[in-house]
C-alpha cells in the first residue's frame, strides 16, 4: 500500500476558490463521462489569477500536470459545491493538496470522490516551497519533505478520511468495509 506521494509541488496562495480551480464555462463537462473527465483535468486551475512568469498548472496543449502536490494557504476550495473542482485536480494527475485550511464542501468532495488527499498543515508553508520543488508527502508519518531544502514539515494526520480516499472514494470504501452491498445488483453498464 502506497503511503507516500512524491513529485514536484505547485504553490498557491489563500482563498483559492472553485472558479479558479475550474471556471464555470467548463461545467458543461460531466465528470462521469470518461472523455469529459479527462478534459476537466486539462483545464485544472486554468482560472488562476497568475502573475507573469508563473508556469501554468497544466502546460498549454497538455492533458496532465507535471505537479503531484499542491501547496496552498487558507480556505482552499472556497466557493461553489462543484465536485468538478477536486475531480479536475485528480484528473490532471495531482494526488494531494497541502493547505492550512479547506472550505467544507471541497474537503468533503475530495474525500467522497477519492480524487485527491486534502491534507492540513498547522504551519504556513507558502514560503517554504517554490513551484517545482521536489517533495515527498508521507501520509502515515504526516510529513511533507522539501527535497531542495531538506526541511521536513509536520502536517495534521489525515485521519478517517485517509482510508476512504485510498479505497477510491465513499462508495468504494463503503463496499470494501461491507457498509453497502458488494456491487450493483446487476451488470452496471
Amino acid at each position: 500500500m502506497s503511503t507516500t506521494i512524491a513529485g514536484p509541488v505547485y504553490v498557491l496562495g489563500d482563498n483559492i476558490d472553485t472558479d479558479q480551480i475550474i471556471p464555470a464555462e467548463y461545467l458543461n463537462l460531466v465528470p462521469t463521462i470518461p472523455e469529459e473527465y479527462e478534459k476537466l483535468g486539462s483545464y485544472a486551475l486554468i482560472g488562476l489569477a497568475r502573475t507573469a512568469g508563473e508556469p501554468p498548472f497544466v502546460p498549454p496543449g497538455a492533458a496532465k500536470t507535471p505537479y503531484r502536490i499542491v501547496v496552498a494557504g487558507r480556505n482552499f476550495g472556497c466557493g461553489s459545491s462543484r465536485e468538478h473542482a477536486p475531480v479536475a485536480l485528480g484528473a490532471a494527475g495531482a494526488r494531494a493538496v497541502v493547505a492550512e485550511s479547506y472550505a467544507r464542501i471541497f474537503f468533503r468532495n475530495s474525500v467522497a470522490t477519492g480524487e485527491i488527499y486534502p491534507v492540513e498543515t498547522p504551519t504556513r508553508l507558502l514560503d517554504a516551497f517554490r513551484t517545482g520543488d521536489e517533495a515527498v508527502l508521507d501520509l502515515d508519518a504526516a510529513t511533507l519533505t522539501n527535497r531542495r531544502t531538506g526541511a521536513v514539515h509536520a502536517l495534521r494526520p489525515i485521519g478517517d478520511a485517509g482510508p476512504v480516499i485510498a479505497a477510491g472514494g465513499l462508495f468504494a470504501y463503503a463496499r470494501q468495509t461491507g457498509m453497502i452491498a458488494a456491487a450493483p445488483e446487476e451488470d452496471g453498464r
Binding site: 472558479d19 479558479q20 488562476l48 464542501i105 452496471g188 453498464r189
Partner: protein, 434 residues
C-alpha cells in the same frame, strides 16, 4: 441537559435522536434533494454506476430537478445535460422537473424551490449547489453537497453529517430605509472573513431581521456560504408562515432555539447605524463603505442571480432608477419566470417595472436563469468578456467569476447597484433615494 439550537433540533429530529451536539456525526434523512443541469448529470451518472442501471431513487416525491444554469446558450453540451435530466425524470417518474421550454420552466433553483413550495420549516434540504443554504431563511436546514454525496442521497435518502455549532448574528433596532439585507450580510462577511463561519451554522436574529420581507431574509441566508458557513437559519414567524402556507399544503413543524441553547459566538449590531457597503474585488469579505468608493469608475452594472434577482430586488432597484437614465451598460436578469412576470405586472406610480427599466436604458433579459453571475458559456447574457469594471447584486467576486479574469466585480445591494449605474461610479444610494 443543555438546550439545543434550531439547527441542532432539526438534525436531531431528522436523525431520529432526542438530542445532538455540535461535532457529532449523524445520519440525517433528507426531506428534499435538489439538483440542476450542471451537477445533475454527474450525480445521475454516479447513482447509476453505484446502485445499478435499474436502481430507483429513494422517493420520487422528494427529488426536485431544476435546470437553471446554462439554458439560453447555443452550447451543445449544455443542452445534452438538460436532456440527461429529462431522461432521468421520465425513467424514474419524477414529478418535480421544471423543464426548459415548458410552462413549468422556472429558472434559478434556490428561488424556484421557495416559489414552488419545496421549502418548509423544520425540514432538511440538500442541493448540489452551494447556495442551497438560501432556504435556511425558511427555518429549515439547507446545505450544498457534491455529486457523490447527492448520488448517495438519491439512492438511500440519507447522508452522514457533522452537526455544526451555531454562530448568532443579532441586528437590533430597525434598519434605515437605505439599507437592504445585502448590506447586512456583506457587513458580517467583512467582519468575520470568507472562512469565518467554516463548518458552522449562522443564525440571523433580532428586530431588524424579523422585520425583513421573506425575499430579503433569503438574501441573508444565501450568502452564508461566502463566509464558509454550512447553513444559515432564521426563526419562523407570520412572514414565513404566510409565504410557505401560500405555496405548500404539506404539514411542517417549526423549530425554535431552546432557552439553554449554546452558541459558538454571538455578534450584535445596531441596525440603525449601518451604512451601505460594497465588497471590492476579488473577495466577498473585501468590504468598504459605498461612500468611500466614489472614485471607482464603472463600465457595467448587473442585477440578477439567487442573491439579487428576486422581485423584491428589482422593486428596490426601480425605486432608484425610476425617471433616471443609466450611465453604464446595465444588465438585468430575473431569477425566475415568476419574477419575469412580476417585472410586467408590478407597478410603481402606475408604471410597470419593465417600463421603468427600459426607460432608464437598462438591457433586460426576459429569460430567467443564473446567466452571468457565474460567467458560463461565452454567449451568456451579461457575461464579462474583457476588462470590465462591474457592480453587481450577485454573491461572488472571485477572479473570473463573471467570465473574464480581467474583469473586476464589486458586490452591493440593489439600491447601491442602481445608484451606481445612474452615476457611472460607485455611489452611496442615499445620494439618490428621496
Amino acid at each position: 441537559m443543555s438546550g439545543m439550537t434550531m439547527t441542532e433540533k432539526i438534525l436531531a429530529r431528522a436523525s431520529g435522536r432526542k438530542a445532538v451536539a455540535p461535532g457529532e456525526n449523524v445520519w440525517v434523512n433528507a426531506d428534499v434533494l435538489m439538483t440542476h443541469d450542471v451537477c445533475g448529470p454527474g450525480t445521475i451518472g454516479i447513482f447509476k454506476r453505484e446502485f445499478g442501471r435499474r436502481a430507483r431513487v429513494f422517493d420520487p416525491e422528494k427529488v426536485v430537478l431544476i435546470p437553471d444554469h446554462y439554458i439560453f446558450t447555443q452550447d451543445e453540451k449544455a443542452h445534452r445535460n438538460v436532456d440527461i435530466l429529462r431522461e432521468f425524470a421520465a425513467e424514474q417518474r419524477l414529478p418535480h422537473l421544471y423543464d426548459v421550454g415548458t410552462d413549468r420552466y422556472k429558472g434559478v433553483c434556490h428561488i424556484a424551490l421557495a416559489e414552488e413550495g419545496h421549502t418548509r420549516p423544520g425540514e432538511v434540504l440538500f442541493g448540489t449547489d452551494s447556495h442551497t443554504c438560501t432556504a435556511g431563511a425558511f427555518n429549515e436546514f439547507a446545505t450544498g453537497i457534491g455529486n457523490t454525496d447527492a448520488a448517495f442521497v438519491l439512492g438511500t435518502g440519507k447522508l452522514l453529517l457533522k452537526v455544526p455549532a451555531t454562530m448568532r448574528f443579532v441586528f437590533e433596532g430597525e434598519v434605515p430605509p437605505y439599507i437592504l439585507a445585502k448590506d447586512l450580510i456583506l457587513q458580517i462577511i467583512g467582519d468575520i472573513g470568507v472562512d469565518g463561519a467554516t463548518y458552522r451554522a449562522m443564525e440571523f436574529a433580532g428586530e431588524a431581521v424579523m422585520r425583513l420581507a421573506m425575499e430579503e431574509r433569503m438574501t441573508l441566508a444565501n450568502m452564508v456560504i461566502e463566509a464558509g458557513g454550512k447553513n444559515g437559519i432564521i426563526a419562523c414567524d407570520d412572514v414565513t408562515r404566510a409565504y410557505v402556507g401560500a405555496r405548500s399544503r404539506k404539514h411542517f413543524e417549526e423549530v425554535t432555539n431552546d432557552p439553554g441553547a449554546r452558541f459558538d459566538a454571538e455578534r450584535r449590531y445596531d441596525a440603525r447605524r449601518l451604512e451601505p457597503v460594497v465588497a471590492k474585488p476579488h473577495s466577498p469579505d473585501n468590504r468598504a463603505l459605498a461612500r468611500e468608493l466614489r472614485t471607482v469608475k464603472l463600465t457595467r452594472a448587473y442585477i440578477g442571480s439567487c442573491t439579487g434577482g428576486k422581485l423584491t430586488d428589482f422593486i428596490n432597484a426601480a425605486q432608484v432608477l425610476k425617471g433616471r437614465r443609466v450611465a453604464v451598460d446595465t444588465f438585468l436578469v430575473p431569477s425566475t419566470t415568476e419574477v419575469s412576470t412580476g417585472l410586467r405586472t408590478h407597478t410603481i406610480d402606475g408604471r410597470p417595472l419593465l417600463d421603468i427599466f427600459r426607460d432608464a436604458g437598462c438591457q433586460v433579459s426576459v429569460d430567467a436563469s443564473c446567466a452571468a453571475c457565474l460567467g458560463g458559456p461565452k454567449d451568456t447574457f451579461g457575461r464579462i468578456n474583457g476588462p470590465e469594471v462591474c457592480i453587481s447584486t450577485t454573491n461572488r467576486n472571485f477572479p473570473g467569476r463573471m467570465g473574464s479574469k480581467e474583469g473586476q466585480v464589486y458586490l452591493a445591494s440593489p439600491y447601491t447597484v442602481a445608484a451606481s449605474a445612474v452615476t457611472g461610479h460607485i455611489t452611496d444610494p442615499r445620494e439618490l433615494l428621496q
